[in-house]
């Protein structure tokens, strides 16, 4: 009876939604190759002698071949894609990665680099029998310059561990996302992950100071500087940020960590319509200015289904739209003055109908947890088609309404939520189960509409396995041609993460 803390800790653990939904369904997904009708390219086929070679570099323990042990590495966490890999390699050093790739390149063996396997477009799992290169064991922090904020670490470090580490030294990681407890910094960099604080701290093209990558032929490319300014020649590191492991494998990262904000506040508001969200965003930019660190929205369906499916509680009552505003600042009094002026103006003008605001860490965590859980909450109800698009703000929510109308005679729920500040909306279409019919109702329709609105078909999730055939909606032929030329030059045999990013 007098152990209240353990009860609280239990509650906190329950909030770890990802682990909760990860195994919500036990049915194995269909093979990606069958589901999406893909033909295997003429890569080499893994032989026992290849396994022997890998064991000679890594030892017995770090070459995983048991079918049931390999299975989790073949399936993505939303259980959409399933590959048929026979082996998972777990290197501990760049040299080992280099040896593996050099060997695979010589034997034309395809490789699928994999971080925390939290991707949403099938980029992190093999399609056929690609060798999975897993970075779990490359998880060492190499250095942290507390003055400049430059953190250097290996690519397998889990984002949350890095954040905990730098927080103890009064810094934070420049990115934060729902999958932080599992995702690797190498994966974040390779996919140019965006997340919840992009509005304030910018994207990884700005935060990544340098990196080390291994090319397909095993060459180690050392761009691991920690300089903010370095205009000497081509800025090669950018080739590896967002190229999803198709040009090289990131093994080390140098990243700039901003100062830990001394004062953090979080507001969660109910809003009547989308027009008012835009209105509020405009006000937030002017009245909160430099302390605004996140401006997120979610429609009623996103929040109410998340709260229901995961048995959370909504701190405010039911509203058509919800907005979450976070501030990061250095002076609590200054920030709270600004925030309360912003709030009273919002209330008086009727833009904010109701809401709550807090600077207590536990309460902020509870509110953020609702927002972060939306992505996975739909899995409880069935199959979830997920889209991540950028649309100019004026038309930000149009696509959700178009889809609801298009699917009104089907058993489907359409939810929209996302990072208003970045013009990035996520759309979940929840159906009882995956059907080809529903798939063809959604794609390429969504991408066509996004192209019409002059948006991007992938704002932050990347192209991966699921979208190469649609990339032309966002990139023109000349850009695609240069991408193909780069790929050919850096990975002539095409062994790195094949079937991903670029169309054939």
């Amino acid at each position: 009876m007098i152990r209240p803390l353990s009860l609280f800790i239990f509650n906190l653990n329950k909030q770890n939604v990802k682990t909760q939904v990860k195994f919500a369904s036990t049915v194995l997904p269909q093979f990606s190759s069958e589901k999406y009708g893909v033909k295997r390219k003429s890569f080499g086929v893994l032989q026992p002698r290849d396994i022997d070679y890998f064991k000679s570099i890594l030892g017995e323990d770090r070459v995983v071949t048991d079918e049931s042990d390999v299975l989790p590495f073949n399936i993505d966490w939303i259980k959409n894609c399933r590959g048929q890999s026979k082996v998972v390699l777990k290197p501990k050093t760049t040299e080992e990665v280099s040896k593996i790739l050099s060997y695979c390149n010589g034997k034309r063996l395809a490789v699928c680099p994999q971080g925390g396997n939290t991707g949403l477009v099938g980029g992190s799992v093999p399609v056929f029998d690609e060798i999975v290169l897993n970075f779990n064991l490359m998880n060492k922090i190499i250095s942290l310059d507390e003055i400049s904020g430059a953190l250097v670490c290996e690519s397998g470090c889990v984002l949350e561990n890095l954040d905990d580490y730098v927080r103890e030294r009064n810094l934070i990681m420049p990115l934060d996302l729902g999958a932080k407890g599992s995702c690797h910094i190498g994966g974040n960099v390779s996919t140019n992950a965006g997340g919840l604080r992009l509005l304030r701290y910018g994207n990884l093209h700005g935060s990544v100071l340098g990196l080390e990558a291994v090319k397909a032929d095993g060459t180690v490319l050392d761009c691991l500087r920690t300089l903010k300014k370095d205009n000497t020649g081509y800025h090669l590191k950018h080739l590896f940020i967002g190229s999803e492991g198709t040009l090289g494998v990131v093994t080390k990262v140098a990243i700039h960590c901003p100062a830990l904000p001394k004062a953090v506040s979080l507001g969660f508001f109910g809003v009547e319509n989308f027009e008012n969200i835009l209105n509020l965003y405009k006000r937030a930019k002017t009245s909160l200015g430099e302390i605004l660190s996140a401006f997120e929205m979610a429609d009623n369906g996103s929040v109410s289904s998340t709260v229901k499916n995961l048995k959370l509680s909504n701190p405010i009552s039911d509203y058509p739209f919800y907005v979450l505003v976070e501030t990061h600042g250095s002076d609590e009094t200054h920030d709270s003055e600004k925030l309360s002026r912003f709030l009273s103006e919002g209330m008086e003008s009727g833009v904010i109908v109701d809401g709550t605001v807090t600077s207590e860490p536990a309460k902020m965590k509870t509110i953020w947890n609702i927002r972060e859980s939306i992505a996975g909450a739909g899995l409880v109800e069935g199959y979830s088609f997920k889209y991540d698009v950028s649309i100019p703000l004026r038309n930000y929510y149009d696509l959700v309404e178009l889809l609801r109308d298009r699917l009104k005679d089907h058993q489907a729920k359409v939810y929209g939520y996302g990072h208003v500040g970045d013009g990035n909306i996520h759309i979940n279409v929840i159906v009882p189960e995956y059907t080809k019919n529903m798939y063809s109702m959604l794609e390429p329709y969504i991408f066509e509409e996004v192209a019409k609105l002059k948006g991007s078909i992938s704002a932050e999730h990347g192209v991966g396995f699921r979208k190469p055939q649609f990339i032309h909606y966002s990139k023109d032929e000349s850009a695609l041609q240069l991408m193909k030329d780069l790929k050919k030059s850096m990975d002539p045999n095409g062994i790195l993460n094949p079937y991903k990013v670029l169309p054939d």
Binding site: I2, P4, L7, M347, G355, E360, P361, K363
Partner: protein
Amino acid sequence: MSRVLVGVKRVIDYAVKVRVKPDKTGVVTDGVKHSMNPFDEIAVEEAVRMKEKKLASEVIAVSCGPTQAQETLRTALAMGADRAIHVEIAGAEYETLQPLHVAKILAKLSQDEKADIVIVGKQAIDDDSNQTAQMTAAILDWPQGTFASKVEKSDAGLTVTREIDGGLEVIKTKLPAVLSADLRLNEPRYATLPNIMKAKKKPMKKVSAKDLGVDLSPRIKVVSVEDPPVRQAGAIVPDVDTLVAKLKEGGHV
């Protein structure tokens, strides 16, 4: 209709990692985010619900502590308390403030304010004393309903369901009475924006322990505060036989 006095304590937020001071005299509180003790939040919620159900006429929140305790009181006001009393205790005196002192303060204020019900959290999550409710009841010579998970109005007073080892106990008590809130009593609300705004204008009285005639000299001395022992790293064994052998070796089987 009763008047309810609620005790609220400002503690290190439960989501914050607590660190022990190097000299082992206590824990680091400077620059650490504080919030209302979660059990006190439950107590405030219960008091506010009593008012909403017209069982109570007024809810008064009390906190003992330095200036920052006023933030905690504002939170209580935003949740729905009508007014607040800040018993200012700072510096060395606050560091050695103990449940007995707080109980004496609450007892005195209950009499001054003519309270019929005193509700506090069953314990604070920083010192885990679990004494204030019991001591307050003893000083006032009022009945007590501790570890309450349900409080209902009955003819003469209250029916209180208590969480006890292995089950629940239902007691009836007359008023005035002292209650302590357990985890399952209710789920505290989030203060809404209009109420946060209103709370800024609600009255907050500041008094000192001296005004109340309570002597704050410490009765207990903290000898040393230490981290719990660090858990030893686990080891992975290759097969069941090795595991059994290791367990035997360690005398576990």
